[in-house]
Symmetry: C2
Subunit: 405 residues, 2 copies
């Protein structure tokens, strides 16, 4: 027998969104006339902003001329982009992050999935529950999670931090000490946030307990409330305990363009070993840099014109999220999120998450995401996203309201 | 202390090409007038072909319109590209590879580096020596290689397959049984090849010994001789024992564009477990698909016009490689490669590889790659590449010839 990594075989079913896609496809095949509205996967629908399109065309043009052609990019990203990010996303906000602490890559999903490689195989993870499935799944593949229990939907060696209506979606410090703590803020899927004081509790805890916070800030652009930090480095002490993931996908509609970055501070150390240097080594060995074209498009996101255009797009999606939030609330649903996030998180009442998924698909032709797919405490919840068009979003809300009548 | 993956700390020095870049930079800073010719890293210099540029512009235009915008790509690649690859690279050559056995990604380096995750941590690797450093380094990070011995330049738990002038660069079957066998054909850095009969020996061996061949065919476009296979699937039995890596970097100058694919046949199984399904699961969990724009550019490579244009580029680089090969041979160097490969591999005589590197940099202002960076049997060898301009290549050859006078 070929000696495979048996941990892969422990993963139950397939990746959440693949399962949903298959279910929707099957429904559509048997109901070809159904006008299905997709508020499930967190994919954007607006086209790229004009400033981004112009930058892409210009970069393509450069690639067609010998004098301006670009071959291999620097593994860690072009200086022009790393400097722009360090300045505008960090230094302008008072965070002392340098350009060489920014690692440009092709997606926060890749980076969130790969980051666990830097840790020992015995390191123990803690995750908010519910949360983006990649954190747990990538650790299952690495053999850190123990065994899966079908009955509870839990892995024996994972510390779950329940985030439910009961605790107002604020994770409590665990009794057992974790080595890696995944925090997603604003959280996917609940759309809820930790404010500065609540995040400070975790930063202090991590520093005191030699744990590292893997901080996913992919939804940073949706933050509305002043007391929610845009970066974990706004919190004192974070540079010695936190790695931050950021994405161009949600702020600028780059889901199909692929560009992101990760911040690993030079101050993050394990004895003499620098996690910054380890991540650089990983990039140098298993990655060949983000494409030049994409990095130029990323620059356009920081230009005055680009910024204005993309913030209009974010405002458009925020309006959708508010429409869902308010519409569902009016219809009597218990809802969360929708303010600092494109996501609305609703309680499904008597139905399980997947029952509600089928109900919504079949009776309203609306696709959402079952909360249980994000962790055991997501059961009886459901996620809807503000990434559709305004018209389809409003129509979906109307259909869901009609179901209650 | 933070619980890090200590295996990372075992890696000696930094990645080969980073070290070279630093050395060249230091030389240039102290010799600002030196006209340095770089025939070191395997990066291309010709701009993208016109058909590719057109495809990129068209795809960018689509991304700017709501009706034709593309968000998240399918994790495994768009069907249009997977089908084109399956047909033109495989079925047209008589290889029965289906579109759903093609996994599109952002680079052969990423895939070659990540593929080891599918195997058990106790799996033993065999590598040609010398070879592309990513195979060994990615397994060092995963803890499969044992300890490094400075004196021999060898890892205690790696099976080395020496490929030198003495055995005409044909690796012999090992005494000890490996679980993973990395073969690069045409080989990087030696530029030498295995023909069909020689490759068949390895396919049969892998099938008989439950080993998997990780077959890197990134330089396939440079194959000139008829008896060198373009794909391992031309060899009977390969579908039950081989994974193939291909790249658009060297055939179409995509080093800065980033596009590649990996073939994992459905017939490749470990008991009931399918390595095809495992790789699909990895893509679904840790990758978010290659960008739409890039995949459209990949399609242009297969168009009639695109094919004609890129083959002219390959011919241009091949002419460079022949020029180096012949020029060095005429100057009395023992040389290999240069026929089925953009790489020429020369013996450095009395000098070590790094001594020759410094000699060439300082006395001829030519940058090449020290053979010892590719493995212990690469000591006393040196790699030059045909990816420069013809003019600079001819000039570099002249300078090297003059050193001998």
């Amino acid at each position: 027998m070929i000696k495979i990594n048996e941990n892969y075989l422990k993963l139950p079913g397939s990746y959440l969104f693949s399962t949903i896609a298959k279910k929707v496809k099957a429904y559509q095949e048997t109901h070809p006339d159904a006008d299905i509205i997709r508020l499930g996967i967190g994919d954007v629908t607006l086209p790229l902003a004009p400033a981004v399109i112009r930058a892409l065309h210009e970069a393509v043009e450069e690639m067609g001329n010998a004098a301006t052609f670009h071959g291999y990019a620097p593994d860690l990203g072009y200086s022009f982009l790393r400097e722009e990010i360090a300045k505008k996303d960090y230094q302008d906000r008072g965070c002392q992050i340098d350009a060489d602490e920014i690692f440009v890559s092709d997606g926060a999903k890749s980076d969130c999935g790969n980051i666990q490689e830097l840790f020992d195989e015995t390191a123990k993870i803690a995750v908010c529950d519910p949360v983006y499935p990649v954190y747990v799944d990538s650790n299952v593949m690495a053999g850190r999670t123990g065994e899966y229990d079908e009955a509870t939907g839990k892995w024996s060696n994972v510390i779950y931090l329940p985030c439910t209506m009961e605790n107002n979606f604020v994770p409590q410090l665990p009794k057992e000490k974790p080595d890696m703590i995944y925090l997603c803020n604003p959280n996917n899927p609940t759309g809820t946030t930790l404010n500065r004081d609540q995040l400070k509790v975790w930063v202090d805890y991590a520093n005191e307990n030699d744990a590292v916070i893997l901080y996913d800030a992919a939804y940073e652009a949706y933050i509305t409330d002043d007391d929610v930090p845009h970066s974990i480095y706004e919190i004192e002490g974070a540079k010695t305990c936190a790695i931050e993931f950021r994405s161009f996908s949600k702020i600028a509609g780059f889901t199909g363009v692929r560009l992101s970055f990760t911040v690993v501070p030079k101050a993050l150390k394990s004895g003499d070993a620098s996690l910054h240097d380890m991540w650089a080594r990983r990039h140098g060995t298993k990655y060949n840099g983000a494409p030049y074209i994409q990095q130029k498009a990323g620059m356009a996101v920081y230009s005055e014109e680009g910024r204005k255009e993309i913030l209009e797009q974010v405002a458009y999606y925020k309006r959708n999220a508010r429409t869902i939030y308010q519409g569902l609330k009016d219809a009597g649903y218990a809802v969360a999120g929708g303010v600092n996030s494109p996501y609305v998180w609703l309680h499904t009442g008597e139905m399980t998450s997947w029952e509600f998924f089928d109900h919504l698909l079949e009776d309203a032709n609306v696709v959402g995401t079952p909360g249980s797919g994000f962790g055991p405490s997501g059961e009886n919840y459901f996620r809807l996203t503000g990434f559709g068009t305004y018209e389809s979003t409003a129509e979906a809300v109307k259909r869901i309201q009609n179901l209650k009548r």
